[in-house]
Symmetry: D3
Subunit: 289 residues, 6 copies
Amino acid sequence: MQSLFCPDAFLSPLEVEDAVRRALAEDFGRAGDITSIATVPEDAQGRTVVAARKAGTIAGLPLVAAAFRMLSPEMKLEAHERDGATVAAKTTLMTVTGQARAMLAAERTALNFVGLLSGTATATAEYVSRVAHTKARIICTRKTVPGLRALQKYAVRCGGGFNHRFGLDDAVLIKDNHIAVAGGIRPVLERAKYVIGHLVKIEIEVDSLEQLDDVLKVGLADAVLLDNMDVATMAEAVKMVGGRLTTEASGGITRDTVGRIAESGVDYISSGALTHSVTNLDIGLDIEI
Amino acid sequence: MQSLFCPDAFLSPLEVEDAVRRALAEDFGRAGDITSIATVPEDAQGRTVVAARKAGTIAGLPLVAAAFRMLSPEMKLEAHERDGATVAAKTTLMTVTGQARAMLAAERTALNFVGLLSGTATATAEYVSRVAHTKARIICTRKTVPGLRALQKYAVRCGGGFNHRFGLDDAVLIKDNHIAVAGGIRPVLERAKYVIGHLVKIEIEVDSLEQLDDVLKVGLADAVLLDNMDVATMAEAVKMVGGRLTTEASGGITRDTVGRIAESGVDYISSGALTHSVTNLDIGLDIEI
Amino acid sequence: MQSLFCPDAFLSPLEVEDAVRRALAEDFGRAGDITSIATVPEDAQGRTVVAARKAGTIAGLPLVAAAFRMLSPEMKLEAHERDGATVAAKTTLMTVTGQARAMLAAERTALNFVGLLSGTATATAEYVSRVAHTKARIICTRKTVPGLRALQKYAVRCGGGFNHRFGLDDAVLIKDNHIAVAGGIRPVLERAKYVIGHLVKIEIEVDSLEQLDDVLKVGLADAVLLDNMDVATMAEAVKMVGGRLTTEASGGITRDTVGRIAESGVDYISSGALTHSVTNLDIGLDIEI
Amino acid sequence: MQSLFCPDAFLSPLEVEDAVRRALAEDFGRAGDITSIATVPEDAQGRTVVAARKAGTIAGLPLVAAAFRMLSPEMKLEAHERDGATVAAKTTLMTVTGQARAMLAAERTALNFVGLLSGTATATAEYVSRVAHTKARIICTRKTVPGLRALQKYAVRCGGGFNHRFGLDDAVLIKDNHIAVAGGIRPVLERAKYVIGHLVKIEIEVDSLEQLDDVLKVGLADAVLLDNMDVATMAEAVKMVGGRLTTEASGGITRDTVGRIAESGVDYISSGALTHSVTNLDIGLDIEI
Amino acid sequence: MQSLFCPDAFLSPLEVEDAVRRALAEDFGRAGDITSIATVPEDAQGRTVVAARKAGTIAGLPLVAAAFRMLSPEMKLEAHERDGATVAAKTTLMTVTGQARAMLAAERTALNFVGLLSGTATATAEYVSRVAHTKARIICTRKTVPGLRALQKYAVRCGGGFNHRFGLDDAVLIKDNHIAVAGGIRPVLERAKYVIGHLVKIEIEVDSLEQLDDVLKVGLADAVLLDNMDVATMAEAVKMVGGRLTTEASGGITRDTVGRIAESGVDYISSGALTHSVTNLDIGLDIEI
Amino acid sequence: MQSLFCPDAFLSPLEVEDAVRRALAEDFGRAGDITSIATVPEDAQGRTVVAARKAGTIAGLPLVAAAFRMLSPEMKLEAHERDGATVAAKTTLMTVTGQARAMLAAERTALNFVGLLSGTATATAEYVSRVAHTKARIICTRKTVPGLRALQKYAVRCGGGFNHRFGLDDAVLIKDNHIAVAGGIRPVLERAKYVIGHLVKIEIEVDSLEQLDDVLKVGLADAVLLDNMDVATMAEAVKMVGGRLTTEASGGITRDTVGRIAESGVDYISSGALTHSVTNLDIGLDIEI
């Protein structure tokens, strides 16, 4: 079978397996799918069509496949699309044939993953399309659903976005509290630069052009997060930076404002809403037994 | 400290601990909060105010408390509200004093939980308010975020809603496929009734009054799910049932339609959107060190 | 290979795998089967016959298969019986061919499962046969061996019994303490009915006909547990209920008394002894290398 | 609080905690004790008396304590007995005061442990008393309930018995298959002796005096398992051994035969029934709220 | 108690707890410390002195504390040193008073951690001292002991070193295979730069000045790994780079060569040997009961 | 494929799988091998040669195989050597063909295992060769790397050594503290002998010939650990024992001294350094894509 993964997006097969196993266990409880065991013969075979009911960008097909295969390794899967595809309503994504009981038991787990992740991918793709006339990239944050960070970061990539930090440990992001405790922008940057590894980048949050000026003078940061600035100030900030640092706009980004913010010339626009909120994409699973 | 849990809502303290531990591990990766370790002295103390920035219904405070305490057992917490409270914007929910590093490290995990769950509680409360003039109850489904079912079910209760099945194993829900395979409504109900335990209820999905009539004639079901019916048909169905079964309306429920559907007289209205989609409630954490 | 599972009994393949993995780890410790590694060549092949040494009802063959396969995926299994079968002494249940070391290492784990679960199935079948002249069904309780509840519930089904609650969360069972705290039978039932989901049944325990009368008057329960009544009182209780509620007899049930209790007309008879006590069924594993 | 553990019996506090956590999770499912949450106020306090309803030997009190404390760390426990005590019917074992909901939720888990393990301890004590006039010791086997081996081995010690191997890895036990594959008693013993560590003992199973003679001639074993011999043969075997090896009688031991077998002079008598079968000891938990 | 952690080194308290729990479980097996249970009374108290028998740099004291506390929460600890301290032989590090059995049971686990990690810290400190006359920093690699990466990375910091990547996911490190598959240095760097997040740094390995020249021309890398170059070539490389990239020397670094390599002017020198090999520091635990 | 395991060495396939899964998860973090995903096409195939770069004794090939197979079950492996082989530098151990990305992602995990374990096997083989002219056996201790005990014990066997206790629970080892608390050598031995199982051996540590004499008089021990004696005293001790007990020399053993110590006639020589310290064997993985 062809790969179901989005090319260029980061997701390990072990993570897929773990996530699906936990989700099936959560849905099965102690007794499993009592309705299907009670009403469907053990040897009944079926055919399932997984299809997008609404248009959108797909993410999560490897988890759909894993849910079916984990309950019945003999399940046959045929993929019609792969993650990252933007499809019209009523597009068939995958067809599956095999044991009917396993299909029915896996259905909701499969849909919960692909609906959630495709929702994130679709929202991302919407943001991406609105900044397509600029060089700005859309990125996600650490405001993710607990337990699903790796999957949501992957879904953002499926939607054409890029990723910010995956956690507290893979980059330094200095915020107001860190600055205050350390005694100012220079000491905080010097201290961070001194302690961290040479492959760890430093970003620092500023909410005024004065702070930005200080950051530029110190010169140890790799990126600057322009927090909650209006578009004009943002544009001025980008001009001040002059390409010396990566610029990221953050705070209060919406579908309606993202385009204008991008026009300020920032490199990245981060949105917590892409992952802390979710609009499920309507994907259905039609089973014929 | 007074209880942070919503009275009458189901959530075990062991589940709280497990969920928070997994989420902290996910955010910490291998090295933990490198920014705070690099810039904040180990013995610095701080004070955190957890406050709702927008009005809404709160769910998740026990997880906030657990996140802080798991990183620093000496953390002192003072609760101003408990889960289930509906609060105005700018309401203080909790104040916390203790080690600054632990506060900064726990911040995002705490907010990801309370923002997500309060989002669900707030959406539920909105639905509930729109059916307040009827006897209908709002309920959630199994369309939940993988790994968070118990927490989301709890959040729905915090918002004044009630819970449908928690999983595949705690009630029978017969859908079209089960009916088709078993050879009709009578055989499927007889078969299910025969096999399941005496404390397991049976609900059956119908999408026409004809099907409903069959269900009523067989008489073994406890509840009937009226799937995707218009309001007039729904009202007719409720009349046909005449209190003999619990009635549940499902399919395409929105904030705008839920009130009219409730007026049909149904007992329960279930909405997947309450849990498969999430609008994070804006809750903030202000730390002073 | 044909299915090894009992039809109509609830057990998920993921539960089987988890249980066997934990049991093998418990038996292996850190070094595994040192006797066989020390004395049996790695490439030696063998043939194993799993047979019932005593007559009984079989439960646990999927766990036997999993134990062998987990240690050697190439193991070939041939099933002669499946779970739920009642067999005479000396009946061959399964034959297995493959790596001798893996057979020897899996032997005890496989037998511990199938002996324990077949013991439960056999005891259940005994009770079931003693009430066969009545409509009463034999059910188990939550008095199970810690860690093995799903498996024991399955074994009860293999023996022809049915299942009570699987845990604290899938039905309401109101006992004396709940009644006392809530202030009586009416308030406790009203309170429970108000809080729980529409697919959750309510059973209430009574130990006198007076209490039963109260329950019948309130009318919110689905089932009533008649606790420790003598047969005459039980029969009177059943008459009083008149089919309005499911009736369950509980307390001090033994092989000798179960038949007479069933003649009282109760719907269900629950026995903790079916699962809190175990008489292992003697099943043996003859290995030829 | 005084120790609840039986002196001289092996059980780690980490094992106690793990076992109780798993058992509570199994009983709680996703929603926990819905009956108590629905009917008992969160702040209601209670008092529980744990008492033996039948006479027996107690094992499992540390698990009772852990179950209560895990759900409510503030729970106050007062121990009246400790594991290993042999008590009359109606003996109070422990009193507990604290949150009523936590008591009700922990009740079944606590009782399932202490009933099962006290059952094993009581059965062991019975065997022990029947061989008290001899030097024979009663020991258990690896025929244990999957997942509970460490706990059952501990319970056997509480009952005055001793332990055989805890798993496949802590001693060598050579059976017929190993002898056959290795080509006889001498080669199998030489091979095992050569490979294993110097702190690993070797026991070998024989079912005839001829085999025993071979074992004695080779002289590398530490112990010999006399399998399924009648009492006269057993006595003859013991005489042949003359103290050079530890002798263990095994196979078909019952309460009725164990005394006579002991009189043969064997050092140890092992019984699978002590742990593969369980007669729960009736221990009750009376809660006053 | 004062903090035992090395300031500025990254290690989460949850990681400490997990690692110690796993290690105790590994050492306890099923029955725990049978020697101490058999020979030391349960209520015997003791006093333990943890002391360095050889001079070195200390890492691992939080794990020592966790091992004692996990077995007996009442254990009293007094710290005389903290991680990162360089001490003379016979320096007392910590004194512990409490239950003797718990001390004896925790001893080996505690020492295995502190001996291993102090060995790594001491080796690191040795390297660091040999480059002290230059600006070069000593760093570790991903060549770590499986399962102990976070702990070993922490130990390197305790010894005055710094950390390279913690895993495959927190920075890009392009090696010969990646260059070859992507079709050269320019395409591989362009491709990596395009795909990765803005807070992820890129390092590329070169083994000749020609390759380095290509890297400098493309200009997208943050750091360059100079692989297995002799000191003269290394110095030439550093000159070519002229501060535009971070430079890292790698390959065949030993205690004897590290000083001269540092004199080449490289920024970082990485050594797999710091973590893939271990010379345990001799730390002892004297218990008085 | 032929077996990769060392014959006669103890390691379970479940342990291999668990260890590799944990190590891959540790290296992958949340996003996996971002370098390879960014630069190597998903369908690129490759060929890997695993070869010893230095001469040594090999241990860990089953873990290498598991690392590749876990990421890509279709990976084809050809073994040229198996664990326990002593090979010259530049010996090819295994060739692997399959998905290039999976190879690159598994590389470091595979090498970390095989380098570490082969280091232990090689060090053991060195010690073994130095005592080859005597009957002494080289054994390891519980001074192992936390989390890797089973693997290191296996590696010692691969190098021709033997194993001491695997943990606290599989043999009794009485040290000075136990003797002191119990009130002397006779009471401690009597107490231990009384409590432990009949398949558990007892070793006792002595540091003088006087103590040894006491041990011999009591006569309940199976083995005696001669702690830190000089060679002459050791020889005298061996003479005193006269074959009545197994003798083990321990304390300050080095490559240089081990031969002379062996000549004292002791049965076993234990060395903590074999496992508490590690000199990684240089094994490389050449990938062609």
